[in-house]
Amino acid sequence: MSTTNIEEKQFLLRFKCDTKSHLTVLDHDVCMTQCPDKLCTVFCPAEVYKWEGKRMQVGYEGCHECGSCRIGCPYQNIKWEYPKGGHGIVFRLA
């Protein structure tokens, strides 16, 4: 079957998760008070970011390490690092 939603797509992937997040929302108040659209929750290709009413939930375990959130956050409110060597996403094909 060909996938029809993001959950199915993410399910195809292999991750070697670190215990520590390589993504950090610096100030959750900025998301709450200055960013009505919560843009990262829209354009992140892995649905890593989920707004939980008061704070941004960061599901770093499913991150593709593309860098869009670092560049696309209108408030430069995301600290973006690489996961520890050998960790994070492991692409097997393309």
């Binding site: 354009f43 892995a46 860098g67 560049i71 094909l93």
Partner: protein, 431 residues
């Protein structure tokens, strides 16, 4: 690991591996550092590898490299909601040596290429993140990694750390990139039996097709989609500038699913099995976004230097060529034992004198033009579809009258002057 090398290359993608290969081949002591589990495990590409720049490094590589299919046909689709205007070229000269380009799966290809660098004598260390360059007296003298006691020193550090190049940003070679300088692209690999692929794409044996899709594939936003044939799978993907994605509030995976369900695309994928989903940024800022590429003891190559020609889907070939140019500059610098910026600027001169910067310069205004004036993708592509439909539908109207009607419908909607202006602007951007 605090050993001294001639060259440390950060990142074992096409640019870094090319540089490491060529340095090692010339007898230099090379350390190649990769953050993934293996080379290719962090890399994503739609899938077209051009023969020329790879062959310049490894002659007749196609006899042993893990390739998918030689591409014999390149199609371009101008797609609307329920129609498509197509053109393309198929030529059997591309089916024989020396070939033009191949589809590849990068996780396999990058491992093979890195292994070739190892065979030349480069030392490859995987699963290691370079956290910063070690700078002393204004000169890069080594790298610090996330391994315990993980420092290594070299005469030259080559930054091949990809589109996000945190290292060249740390060195102040460029500011943070803007959302309109990168394209967010998502793709899927979809398994399909070989005979199905050959039937659907009208192919024989191992021949391959690439289709670039404009228009409704991105819902009219600045970007493209692609559909490429592998041996027993298809790569389908779509991307737009991150700024367009943000402005249109698009979810990239929903755009991909929209494309997969599109009536012009769906029949090709029917019955396929998704095998992998991948997201990546493509540096598409072009000529104006190329950062500083040489400093004291340091060079920047490949995506890290924004070397991508988005209009011609060229990137990995430019990465390889830039890696090779960097290696040549380093070999010369070694002869003089001078690794200053002045000496390493040989690389910059080679790069700016080559097809890479010349092509980026040619298209330097293209992305900006098409982003500022969205009518090309949003209005002209649908108009083109309607015109073709009208022209080819036989309804008893004389052809000359049809032509007039088509021209009238275009100019009536926008005004003759506006249309002329748009044509001139587009021509200027790509001339």
């Amino acid at each position: 690991m605090s050993e001294k090398f001639d060259v440390i290359v950060v990142g074992a993608g096409p640019a870094g591996t090319s540089c490491a290969y060529n340095c090692a081949k010339n007898g230099l002591k090379v350390l190649l550092i990769e953050r993934g589990e293996y080379p290719g495990s962090k890399n994503v590409m739609g899938g077209v590898l051009y023969r020329k720049q790879m062959e310049d490094i490894i002659p007749e590589f196609w006899k042993e490299a893990p390739l998918e299919r030689p591409v014999v046909e390149q199609r371009f689709w101008m797609m609307d909601k329920e129609s498509v205007v197509q053109f393309g070229y198929k030529g059997l000269e591309w089916a024989a040596e020396p070939y033009n380009n191949f589809t590849v799966l990068r996780a396999q290809f990058d491992q093979w290429f890195a292994q070739k660098a190892v065979e030349q004598g480069a030392l490859l260390i995987n699963e290691t993140v370079v956290t910063e360059c070690i700078v002393e007296n204004g000169k890069v003298i080594g790298v610090r990694t996330d391994r315990p006691d993980g420092e290594a020193y070299a005469d030259v550090v080559v930054l091949a750390d990809g589109v996000n190049s945190l290292l060249s940003k740390q060195l102040g070679f460029h500011r943070e990139f803007r959302p309109d300088e990168v394209a967010l692209t998502v793709m899927e690999v979809i398994n399909l039996p070989k005979d199905k692929i050959n039937d659907r794409f009208n192919l024989e044996g191992n021949h391959g097709t690439t289709i670039e899709i404009f228009g409704d594939s991105t819902k009219g936003n600045l970007g493209t989609a692609f559909l490429y044939t592998n041996k027993e799978s298809l790569n389908i993907g779509v991307g737009t500038t991150l700024s367009s994605m943000i402005k249109a509030k698009l979810k990239p995976y929903e755009l991909l699913d929209y494309l997969k369900k599109h009536p012009m695309v769906r029949p090709y994928l029917e019955g396929g099995e998704s095998a992998e989903y991948l997201a990546h940024l493509i540096p598409e800022g072009g000529f104006n976004s190329v950062p500083r590429v040489a400093g004291n003891g340091v060079l920047v190559v490949g995506d890290a230097a924004q070397l991508v020609n988005a209009i011609h889907r060229e990137g990995s070939n430019m990465a390889m060529a830039s890696g090779q140019m960097a290696a040549e500059a380093i070999v010369e610098a070694k002869k003089d034992d001078d690794f200053s910026e002045n000496s390493l600027n040989r690389y910059k001169e080679a790069l700016f004198g080559s097809f890479i910067i010349k092509d980026l310069e040619k298209y330097k205004d293209a992305a900006h033009t098409f982003e500022t004036y969205p009518q090309y993708f949003k209005e002209y592509l649908p108009m083109m579809n309607k015109a073709m439909s009208k022209f080819f539908t036989v309804d008893g109207t004389p052809k000359r009258e049809k032509q007039k009607e088509i021209m009238r419908s275009v100019t009536a909607e926008k005004g003759t002057f506006k249309v002329m202006q748009d044509i001139y602007r587009a021509w200027k951007a790509v001339k």
